[in-house]
Symmetry: C2
Subunit: 388 residues, 2 copies
Amino acid sequence: MKNIAVLGSTGSIGKNTLEVVRNLNRNSFPVSVKYISANSNSELLAAQIEEFKPEAAVIFDPESFNRLKNRSLNHKCEILCGQAGINEIARRDDFELVVNALVGFSGLIPTIEAIKNGKDIALANKESLVVAGELIYSMLAASNSHLLPVDSEHSAILQCVQGEPLKKITKLILTASGGPFRELPAGDMINVTVADALNHPNWKMGNKITIDSATLMNKGFEIIEAKWLFSIEAENIEVLIHPQSIIHSMVEFSDGSVKAQLGVPDMKVPIQYAITYPGRIESDFPRIDFKSLKKLTFEEPDLEKFECLKLAYDVINSGGSYPIVLNGANEAAVDLFLNGKIKFTDIPALIKSAMDKHQNHTKPTLESIVEIDSWSRKYVKETALQEV
Amino acid sequence: MKNIAVLGSTGSIGKNTLEVVRNLNRNSFPVSVKYISANSNSELLAAQIEEFKPEAAVIFDPESFNRLKNRSLNHKCEILCGQAGINEIARRDDFELVVNALVGFSGLIPTIEAIKNGKDIALANKESLVVAGELIYSMLAASNSHLLPVDSEHSAILQCVQGEPLKKITKLILTASGGPFRELPAGDMINVTVADALNHPNWKMGNKITIDSATLMNKGFEIIEAKWLFSIEAENIEVLIHPQSIIHSMVEFSDGSVKAQLGVPDMKVPIQYAITYPGRIESDFPRIDFKSLKKLTFEEPDLEKFECLKLAYDVINSGGSYPIVLNGANEAAVDLFLNGKIKFTDIPALIKSAMDKHQNHTKPTLESIVEIDSWSRKYVKETALQEV
């Protein structure tokens, strides 16, 4: 029996995780969902409580907490609220793995708490590694925790390096769909609407990551994430546009051989792999039909048009605290864009402005990470306000 | 130091093997070529003797043997002749690995001898497994020998299953370029010339395998080979036409994940992998440039047009001694075609005729394998002669 906690259970990754749990329980790999957490969707969280019967459920939004508290549920469990609730369950010792499917910077503290408490982490929250990769890996080195990627790209790489000597990896090739604006002329990027940007060609995901996929910032974050997960220098991590999203990523070895992992664009396979790793369990998840697939294509990414990807590469070279600014400024700018306050092309402009203003810190502590994150958001909001 | 014997050192795989040996010796993986053998190219064999300084060299053709004997070589080594020479070196105990790059049925006895003598085998001679897969695997089970595939497809599969639970493999997907007649209308196959058939779009190989690639019999043999190498039922082995020959083959696992191995069409990577397995050694062999690659395409094979592939599938279902007939009849028919005696479309017709005439034997012994092979060749030659 594998006992897990699912943080962000009502989001896209969370719902897919529970779908994976159903599949595993059908296929002789029993999984018990001991804890779940959601931001505010009390309706869905209540249904999940009834089905998965956790020990406790955490809800972040105080109003939703009250709604959930007042519901009569057949399954009686503790209902906790906010960060205090997360901290409370993090200390429990009746589960081994946390699926961290929280969105953005809010995923960091639960990652840190999981490591402190010796839990394994199936990490969908890439921002944890973007802002605190160095800190997290120094903590992991001194703990029993293991970090397993849930991103399809990093799961692909993990699958490709199984049984291979890690020091023989010469290149990671992260594939990217290119998002909805791959073919849009650079000059038209300024007119992109929220609806356009939320219309991803291949993947159904939450709003924040869908915008990050449209700007290619998501791919920039993934380079940083890959650097930490696989101890690879960023100069050996290449981004390749592959519009069909069938090859999820590739690894080149020192002899010239390349291995790839492929699948339909569906998060259930990488989520399940993180839970069953290094084993594999039967599933009826959708398969690739190569005969109807016809072709896979590849292109070079356009770093001039997708400035966010260029900014991510810059940040990796500078290191230190710059990734915190990249992430914090991006979260604030994406939020402003989603709320109709700024143009699509203002996202990279605001991030760049925050980065220009920032003085680098080496080896930031958790305290300074939180501080720099707050400063970046505040800076972006204020700058955007002044410019409007 | 790894000590090896290279059988068929002057052929395409043999020359590539020696190129790999040069690379390994440059990259701190010392390999000593203790024995080499060739069919008749005494000129090239003499040069190889001078460079690699083996203990002995075997040449099959008696005339070439005399020519080689009479040359004055700076490196003095034993010069042996024919099958007796091969048998002689097979018994020596100063090497661990045999690269079997012999062509056709002639590769079988050296494979058997290597297993008897506890040597590992890097097997480029797929016919060994086609005609005697059952016998070879029963011998391997009782020996210390390991069989490592050199075919790019099977090397790809071996690379993809590293670190994976073998019983979680649900499908092997063997890719095939489709050969030079992929787009030729079925009705025009009858007019194919020897020059047309030898003009392979992606791979430079010896004549026999190039014709097998044009008929797709090569892919049929590879299904049989894969079945033995990976203990997979033939119904779980799929052939997929992939004209660019970049994806060398793929494996689907029970969770729906697919892994692929990719590379430029060059035999040096799979040969080197068989020698360094499970490790990898640096090389400057050509790399894929994904940015200039543009696209990879896939099609279903046409079993009506490529009757040899259909015949191979039939044979796998019948099992027993049918694969011996498939191989023997094919070798004889390809020989007749290369010598201008029959049409391209006569190749499958003659094989089918031999198969129809054959009475199946279960669990054939080495003696009956040799007998059925001879009968098949004789039958094809006589039938072709009668028809002309």
